[in-house]
């Protein structure tokens, strides 16, 4: 653009050739809506194929009985239904709630909901409260602030699988496991605790679900806190310093200032973090799996979540992936139904949060 501007300045008198060229270009240029669709084409191809269509298809698949993607119209769920209607090929399919019945009567699924709920209820509030404290403290200091900020952000850039292993090792069974060592040396615990291993543990008690929970929650807090601290800090930076000065003149205590000024003014960020954390926590999978990934033994580490069958702390998404991985023809419909139930839970929780927050969030 700058080049053309320079040319225009250099040529004050009318240039017939250039004028004709410009008008020609104008005539050739397409209307704006056409340009818009042209630049949207690349994104739309991907969106339609790998986002819009999958959402619709998975939704339909959940309601089709014995969905068999090996036959008929392949992955196109509704296509299979049409083929079954036209009787062109022998594909017997009907709409119904069979898949949901299979999900809800499954041996494991109800427990995965309970597992996920337990993990969410412990992990999310804990992480948010600690993150809020750290952010407030960080905001109140000057020296070393940058260093602390960088350290607290580090977990964000780590690989979940790698860090899962490190947590398994920190909580390892022997007296030299870092956590056991700490508890024995500092708190005088007598016997080392077996935190994670539930089989192949000759001579020691297999890990209880409670012990496993400690490891999962610790690593989840460690993993999830960086992002929350960062968001709270950016929120705190926008609060006007005048409020604090006014409160100080009134002689308010630090805690009152935090409760009456910081918290209300930070409430949009707190709401945002609460909602995204709950959604993220209900979808937890890699974080839990990675803690167990190095002790799965002969079982498939991708679907192993402690216990003899790998189901001790299996989350909903872990169950969905395990079903999906079984590769039987009907498993896809069941997995689809499971994912719809997950969507239902997430929507419900989000709506409740919005309703509750209406009175408490100050924008």
């Amino acid at each position: 653009m700058s080049v053309e501007t320079a040319e225009a300045v250099k040529m004050p008198e009318f240039d017939a050739t250039k004028a004709r060229l410009i008008s020609k270009r104008r005539r050739l240029s397409l209307p704006q809506w056409a340009n818009a669709w042209i630049v949207l084409i690349p994104a739309m191809i991907f969106l339609v194929l790998f986002m819009f269509y999958p959402i619709l298809n998975t939704f339909l698949m959940a309601f089709i009985q014995d969905f068999d993607f090996g036959k008929g119209a392949g992955s196109f769920a509704l296509g299979n239904f049409f083929i079954s209607l036209s009787n062109a090929r022998k594909v017997h399919q009907t709409f119904g709630f069979e898949n949901f019945r299979l999900v809800l009567t499954d041996d494991v699924f109800p427990r995965t909901i309970l597992n996920t709920l337990t993990l969410v209820v412990i992990e999310v509030p804990l992480t948010i409260i600690v993150a809020l404290l750290i952010a407030t403290f960080l905001n109140s200091i000057k020296a070393l602030k940058g260093l602390f900020q960088t350290i607290f952000f580090l977990p964000y850039v780590t690989n979940s699988i790698a860090l899962g292993l490190v947590f398994t090792m920190l909580f390892s069974t022997g007296e030299g496991g870092i956590v056991n060592m700490f508890l024995m040396k500092v708190f005088g615990m007598k016997e080392p605790i077996n935190w994670l291993k539930t089989f192949g543990t000759s001579g020691i008690e297999p890990a209880t679900r409670g012990h496993q929970l400690v490891v999962i929650v610790t690593s989840a807090v460690w993993n999830g806190i960086a992002f929350k601290i960062l968001v709270f800090l950016s929120g705190l930076a926008t609060i006007d310093k005048q409020y604090y000065d006014a409160a100080k003149i009134d002689g308010s205590s630090n805690f009152t200032i935090w409760r009456r000024i910081t918290l209300p003014l930070l409430s949009p960020q707190i709401l945002y973090i609460t909602i995204t954390s709950f959604i993220g926590a209900f979808k937890m999978y890699t974080g839990v799996m990675s803690v167990y990934s190095s002790i799965a033994g002969s079982m498939n580490a991708s679907y192993y979540f402690g216990g003899e069958k790998g189901e001790d702390w299996m989350p909903i998404v872990g169950w969905i992936y395990r079903i999906l991985g079984t590769q039987t023809n009907t498993s896809k419909g069941v997995a689809a139904a499971g994912s719809l139930i997950l969507l239902g839970i997430i929507l419900f929780i989000t709506l409740v949060q919005f309703a509750v927050s209406k009175k408490r969030v100050h924008y």
Binding site: P54, F148, I151, S160, E175, G325
Partner: protein, 320 residues
Amino acid sequence: MAEHAMYFADKGALIRYRTKTIILRTLVYLFLTVFALFMLLPFVFMIVASFIKAEAFQEFTTRADFSQLGFTNWTFDNYAQVFADHYTDSLGHVLPRPSFGHYFLNTFIVAIGSTAVTVVTAVLAAFAFARLEFKGKNLLFTLLLATMMIPGEMMVITNYQTTIQIGWTNTFAALILVHGVSVFYIFYLRQTFQQIPNELYLAAKVDGVNDIGYLFKVMIPIAMPTITTIIILTLMGSWNSFVWPNLVANGNWKYNANYSMKLVSNGLMSLFGQQASGAADGGDTIKIAGSMVVTAPLFVFFIIFHKYIMRGVSRSGIKG
């Protein structure tokens, strides 16, 4: 502190105030330090353990014997094993396995490919939403917003089938193209584009620059910091991606049966498996060295680009 003096009735009150402030300050720093140590502990542990001889580490974990961590027991052997292209199982057989160099190569290919596709689609789409007028714009945009609410698993189920059906299992196409568009980045860029003043657009029009020319000559240069952030976050996402590659590209390449398709995270998982079940020596320390090899490059990356990363992350909230 001198400016506070006027608020206090007498000298005693001022001294009490100052003492309280100092105690509070100390407590704040104490809390932050304890938590910083908690944050750093896994890294320190990982670095130290990755350099310790296997037997010495075994001794240390079972008996809490710190003398095992002495310098005589330090070694590079764990890293040599991670980058070796074979391992010895408990029966003494030498078995081939891809080295981490191989996983790195795969990850680079996927990271660069998917970053290129994601950035191109996001820039073009964000341009349409931010600058151009067309019928159905609001409807389409609302539709995009709605997809962000839906758990990715719903898409994975059908995408997994589609991938199998069009024969993309164990190909780079499945890893690069299926996640070739990010609704969030379209959003993020659209916001940046919208902040560019309208006058620039009108000025460009007067100069005879068409819409596409305006995008490339004005908008992209102005929005470059945001685009850089997107590039960096996408690269990081590819490096840490696990679930999707684990489903569709966990075997050997479709076109070469000797070429493993695994990315770093999946390679790490298979390393855990081999060391746990079959490998003869150095189980734990090799696993830790493998974890270190996967974590360290991202750290270097973070140190160089931390400004872009932290700015981008504070607005997003995606973790790979």
